[in-house]
């Protein structure tokens, strides 16, 4: 979840300054949230190029429309509405693919995010190692089978640590609908990972 650089008052002052045309204030505002925005886009889209596109497009949209922000909701919610819509658009365009690649090119070189599922705690125990290897395969499969909305809610809840109420606000739906979506995602994961649970 994005950490604010200062208190709510500081953020309000920054937004008002940016609304008045202060670009430095806007860039300061960006820095309070951009790391979590990039992380969300990267994890959902698994492509540095697409993630960077979403980053640029999201903050440019915020910049162009900041005068329309009326403090009806938090800035974080407003920003995430824009980011999640852009990510969902990307994911829907890709949904014709049978399976999403899990190997992504990061600045540190190619990384298979699934490799990291192998827990460090296996401690050389062959049974535990097999458990982790199998778990990795199943997680890879099930994440690719979630719908874009399920995937989005799962990412926002699990990796961004947002509460369902906030997720509902961001996605323009109710907390209950977000809960149902997360429930379906976790049910699919449970079905796929049944042997482990």
């Amino acid at each position: 979840m994005a950490q604010k650089t200062g208190g709510q008052l500081d953020e309000t002052a920054l937004i008002r300054a940016a609304q008045g045309g202060d670009r430095a204030a806007f860039e300061q505002l960006v820095r309070a949230y951009d790391q979590s925005v990039l992380r969300l886009a990267m994890n959902l889209l698994r492509s540095p190029e697409d993630a960077q596109d979403v980053y640029q497009e999201a903050f440019l949209r915020v910049y162009r429309n900041l005068d329309k922000f009326r403090f009806d909701c938090s800035f974080h919610t407003w920003l995430y509405r824009i980011v999640t819509n852009l990510c969902l658009d990307h994911m829907r365009k890709r949904k014709v693919r049978k399976e999403e690649p899990t190997v992504v090119a990061t600045a540190e070189g190619p990384l298979d995010r699934m490799d990291a599922v192998v827990e460090e705690r296996v401690d050389g125990d062959p049974q535990r190692f097999l458990f982790s290897g199998e778990l990795r395969k199943r997680v890879k499969q099930v994440l690719s089978e979630l719908t874009p909305r399920e995937r989005m809610v799962f990412e926002l809840r699990h990796y961004q640590g947002l509460r369902l109420r906030r997720i509902g606000e961001i996605l323009g739906t109710t907390e209950e609908a977000a809960k149902n979506c997360l429930f379906r995602a976790t049910q699919k994961m449970r079905a796929a990972l049944g042997d482990f649970i």
Binding site: R31, Q56, E119, R157, H158
Partner: protein, 321 residues
């Protein structure tokens, strides 16, 4: 407890661990767990699986974030230069605010609406563009180049096409003009045309003392894919080689640039800047360290020889310890 109720409880484990169950649902899960050893074990497995999922999150590299911020900075500068700012100053924005009621002057709405009708009537009477005539000739629209960005089927059988449009316009002015400089710096970053980038860099090089130009040149030095453009950038930064951020960028070139010519130039510039800045021979340890590192990893014999000469000229060891 029956198998069915165990299964029903297990369905809620994930939401239970996320703390997203209602009070009643949580109560049902916990009272079941009190009396069911199997489910308590299953909950622990679920917890382990969720913890394992934590490990697959990707944290974007700091360099990627930095690059995004730099790109955004330049895009914002371009937006500003092209007249897009957050604050509303234009008559059109004020006018549309009036129509949507934001301006709070209710009596202006009918007047605004009338003006819109008049505008619509006037524009409708202009000839529609066909061939070389119409709106273009009337001067209402400028010729524009379009590129299809997305095509998508819409639900009603129609299609939706998103076009990127560019209009040609000639702008002239001196380098001291901020708008001209912003446009040149933007051209220096055009990813599609290395020739344009090289020409733009050549034009801004004499203004490298200005912080905006210097920052842009440093960015180009480290990110441009074309070594010809990077070499031109290095020429522009030559008079500034003693500045810490330029020197840091040159040190990075030394260790990361794939082009041997760039590495050789970087060695020469750094050596010259060390000699000029340190008459007392208290040389920049970072630069010396980078050169010593280069000695270990450099595969090009000529570059290695230049590096060796440079280290010897500042009486530094050619080895790392």
């Amino acid at each position: 407890m029956s198998e069915t109720s165990c299964s029903a409880v297990k369905d809620f484990f994930a939401l239970y661990l996320y703390g997203e169950l209602s009070f009643d649902e949580e109560e049902r899960v916990e009272s079941h767990l009190d009396s069911c050893v199997d489910c308590r074990k299953a909950l622990e497995r679920q917890r382990e699986v969720q913890m394992a999922l934590d490990n697959i999150a990707i944290e974007p590299a700091p360099s990627m974030l930095r690059s995004c911020r730099e790109d955004l900075h330049y895009r914002l500068v371009e937006e500003e230069a092209s007249g897009h700012t957050v604050a509303k100053h234009g008559w059109w924005e004020r006018f549309t605010d009036t129509l949507t009621g934001r301006a709070g002057s209710g009596w202006l709405k009918p007047a605004g609406a009338l003006t819109l009708v008049a505008l619509g009537f006037g524009i409708a009477r202009l000839p529609i563009a066909t061939g070389g005539g119409g709106l273009f000739q009337a001067g209402v629209m400028e010729p524009s180049a379009s590129r299809v960005r997305y095509v998508e089927p819409a639900s009603d059988g129609r299609v939706q096409i998103v076009l990127d449009e560019t209009r040609q316009r000639i702008v002239s002015g001196g380098l001291e003009d901020q708008k001209i400089r912003v446009l040149l710096l933007s051209a220096a970053k055009d990813p599609t045309d290395p020739g344009l980038r090289a020409e733009a860099v050549e034009l801004v090089n004499p203004s490298a003392q200005s912080s905006d130009v210097r920052d842009a040149l440093i960015w180009e030095l480290l990110h441009d894919q074309n070594s010809g453009v990077r070499l031109k950038v290095m020429q522009g930064l030559t008079p500034l080689a003693q500045q810490p951020d330029v020197r840091a960028a040159l040190t990075r070139v030394l260790l990361t640039d794939t082009n041997p010519g760039m590495r050789t130039q970087a060695i020469d510039l750094l050596t010259k800047s060390l000699a000029q800045e340190n008459p007392a021979q208290t040389y920049d340890r970072q630069v010396i360290g980078a050169m010593q590192e280069l000695m270990q990893r450099e595969s090009n014999a000529y570059v290695r020889q230049r590096c060796k000469t440079a280290l010897e000229s500042v009486k530094a060891s050619t080895e790392t310890y």
